[in-house]
């Protein structure tokens, strides 16, 4: 497939009865998604107005005691780590093509705040004192404030919208939904390291910061396990995968986004029902087997996958044909095998029609998490 060529792929997937519906709330997290708002009944992505985001560090100049910036290999100061993480998104490129155009800047540090606030200042904090923010197991979180305008259909091109936030800050932009405040808070009860690799018993601050800044910019989860935005966490991925790059480019596109990427489009349908909303579709590089990007389908089952020039398989993942079969996340493809752990194939019930124990396409090893 060449650049700009659009393939229309129609895939029919089998889903057994309505039992799957109850599962969907759990499944929806697993795809490249953006933070959205409800505008006139339509879910639209929320973006920073005019593709501009400024963050500040809540710090008095001394590294907090739970962040080790001196031990290990090539440890870095906190602010350097955060700036690197922000730059990773601002410079997001695929095959030498910068696909995004967002201006990310670092403002002057602020003095210690007790807790992050909805105040149009995007604070990164390591000393949030509100213990209610950190149930056991919480490492870091982004608190993202959104607003929307209902003055016109979100599909109307060329319109501008005016927002007044935080009492007196006026923003004019073309987006019917905006993000106007995003604070990132790291659990003061967790230990972080800026070393490469991270110290044992510490979380890798560079990868977590990259992930959390991704959220602050308006990204949500990816289902592809080697991405920064993978929903499973703990993968310590510092560099963006193709899905991350395409996702941030989708929100804040450079001119290369539309000139370099092509589109795979199609529709997922359900037997006796029609278009399947929120089905999970994945573009697989036909040569390497790499999972390039994924999306959820629109309300009529249609989808658009933005991909670089190449040949692809499009995989439509069942949302779970019943309560015990399905796929919750994927790695890359060099074939097909099944099992909760890859040492114990097959996982697919050969009597289940969605597996049949057959190879789905020429690839020979499919890594990922099955249920």
């Amino acid at each position: 497939m060449g650049a700009k060529r659009t393939n229309r792929v129609r895939v029919r997937i089998w889903v057994a009865g309505m039992g799957c519906l109850a599962l969907m709330g759990a499944i929806l997290a697993y795809a490249f998604t953006t933070i959205q708002d409800d505008v006139n009944g339509i879910a639209v992505p929320s973006r920073w107005a005019n593709a501009s985001f400024t963050w500040v560090l809540n710090n008095t100049g001394t590294a907090p005691s739970n962040v080790d910036v001196s031990d290990g290999t090539n440890p870095l100061p906190i602010k350097t780590v955060l700036a690197n993480a922000a730059s990773t998104w601002a410079a997001a490129s695929l095959n030498g093509q910068q696909l995004t155009n967002i201006n990310i800047t670092n403002g002057a540090d602020v003095s210690t705040l007790a807790t992050p606030q909805v105040d149009c200042t995007n604070v990164i904090s390591f000393n949030d004192t509100n213990t209610a923010d950190f149930p056991t197991g919480t490492i870091a979180l982004a608190v993202v404030s959104q607003d929307y305008e209902r003055t016109a259909s979100p599909d109307s091109p060329g319109l501008t919208y005016t927002y007044i936030e935080c009492g007196n800050q006026t923003v004019t932009t073309t987006s019917p939904s905006i993000i106007y405040d995003a604070d990132i808070i790291f659990n003061p009860n967790s230990s972080f390291s800026t070393s490469t690799p991270a110290l044992s018993n510490s979380y890798d601050l560079p990868s977590i910061a990259t992930r959390e800044i991704g959220y602050a910019l308006g990204l949500d989860e990816s289902a592809i396990s080697h991405t920064v935005m993978f929903s499973g966490g703990e993968n310590q991925q510092r560099t963006l995968a193709s899905d991350d790059v395409i996702a941030i480019g989708y929100l804040y596109p450079s001119s290369s986004f539309s000139s370099y990427l092509g589109t795979l489009s199609g529709q997922i349908t359900l037997a006796n029902i029609g278009g399947a909303y929120a089905a999970h579709v994945v573009a697989i590089d036909a040569v390497t087997g790499n999972a390039i990007t994924d999306r959820l389908t629109n309300s009529d089952g249609s989808y658009n996958l933005y991909v670089p020039p190449g040949n692809y398989y499009v995989l439509a993942l069942p949302l779970g044909s019943d309560s015990t079969h399905g796929i919750s996340y994927i790695g890359d493809f060099s074939g097909w095998s099944c099992g909760y752990d890859m040492s114990a194939p097959p996982c697919c019930d050969t009597s289940a029609t969605e597996c049949n124990g057959a190879t789905l396409f020429p690839a020979t090893n499919f890594t990922g998490q099955f249920f």
Binding site: M18, L23, A132, P135, L141, N201, Y277, T324
Partner: protein, 282 residues
């Protein structure tokens, strides 16, 4: 057409309320969830309110759950669960990783009491602590949804625990798993380093004091054990020359006492209270 409309209606409703995990979470095993919980309950959602805090700086959502069954702790008949984020008017504060509760719906919940307000509860591991119960249309069996697709059982020592396959499992099976986890012994591995702060001391005889401390970090020594931040430790300090020799005897994890053997030696002279130590388990 009617089926299609119903299908889309349900899906749209789920989509608009769905929240992904925009949070970096430690993926916890069932054993760890069980240990960190002060209360494990089954209940149904009665009401929900979202409001600004008193300083109009943060938005929180409070979900009231009526208790139907208790598996651990002493929960009240109604529980209020506090989570950050929610929508007030046009403003939506998005903190994914939170549980999106559905009205009049049953949940099995792993909860810990808020340190700042013990009348409020927090879901352990955020979305990992909430399991929506539904009845399978085909089999009429009650099932619950594993929020992260699957759940590890946890192992008492190092290594990988068995997997509870999801995303949905029968409630009865899950209850058995919870019971097993509740009955599993907690053993803190030798060499575990526990950062603590000494909170209080009390004279207990000549040159002898009772000492209490609290852990200052969430610790996950292995897949089968968690020591949440704020867990209280007890010990005895004895004056030996110019030092205090502190022998730690136990730590309370989610309300359950776990024995440990550890010793610290601290210089005498200044008060022990307030000192920050690293306790190494022997």
């Amino acid at each position: 057409m009617k089926i299609r409309t119903q299908f889309l209606t349900i899906i749209v409703a789920i989509l608009m309320s769905a929240s992904a995990s925009a949070t970096t979470l430690m993926r916890m095993s069932l054993d760890q969830l069980t240990q960190a919980s002060t209360e494990i309950v089954r209940g149904h959602v009665v009401s929900q309110s979202t409001q600004w805090n008193s300083g109009h700086t943060r938005i929180y959502t409070f979900t009231t759950v009526a208790l139907d069954q208790s598996y651990k702790g002493n929960p009240p008949s109604t529980l209020v669960i506090q989570q950050p984020g929610g929508r007030v008017g046009k403003v939506q504060v998005f903190v994914a990783g939170t549980i999106q509760f559905h009205p009049q719906t049953d949940y099995l919940l792993f909860l810990e009491r808020s340190a700042s307000d013990s009348s409020k509860f927090l879901p352990v591991g955020m979305m990992q602590g909430g399991y929506r119960v539904y009845r399978d249309v085909a089999t009429r069996e009650e099932k619950l949804i594993l929020p992260l697709g699957f759940l590890r059982r946890g192992a008492p020592a190092t290594g990988v625990g068995a997997v509870i396959a999801g995303p949905a499992v029968p409630v009865r099976q899950f209850q058995r798993e919870v019971s097993t986890a509740l009955g599993s012994p907690m053993i803190i591995p030798r060499g575990t380093a526990i950062p603590i702060a000494i909170k209080s001391t009390r004279l207990a005889g000549l040159r002898r004091m009772d000492v209490t401390g609290r852990t200052t970090s969430d610790l996950f020594p292995n897949e089968g054990l968690v020591i949440p931040a704020g867990s209280p430790l007890s010990g005895i300090a004895e004056r030996v020359g110019n030092s205090w020799r502190i022998s730690w005897t136990d730590v309370s994890i989610g309300g359950k006492q776990v024995l440990l053997s550890a010793r610290n030696t601290e210089p005498a002279g200044e008060a022990l209270r307030g000192r920050v130590l690293r306790v190494s388990v022997r």
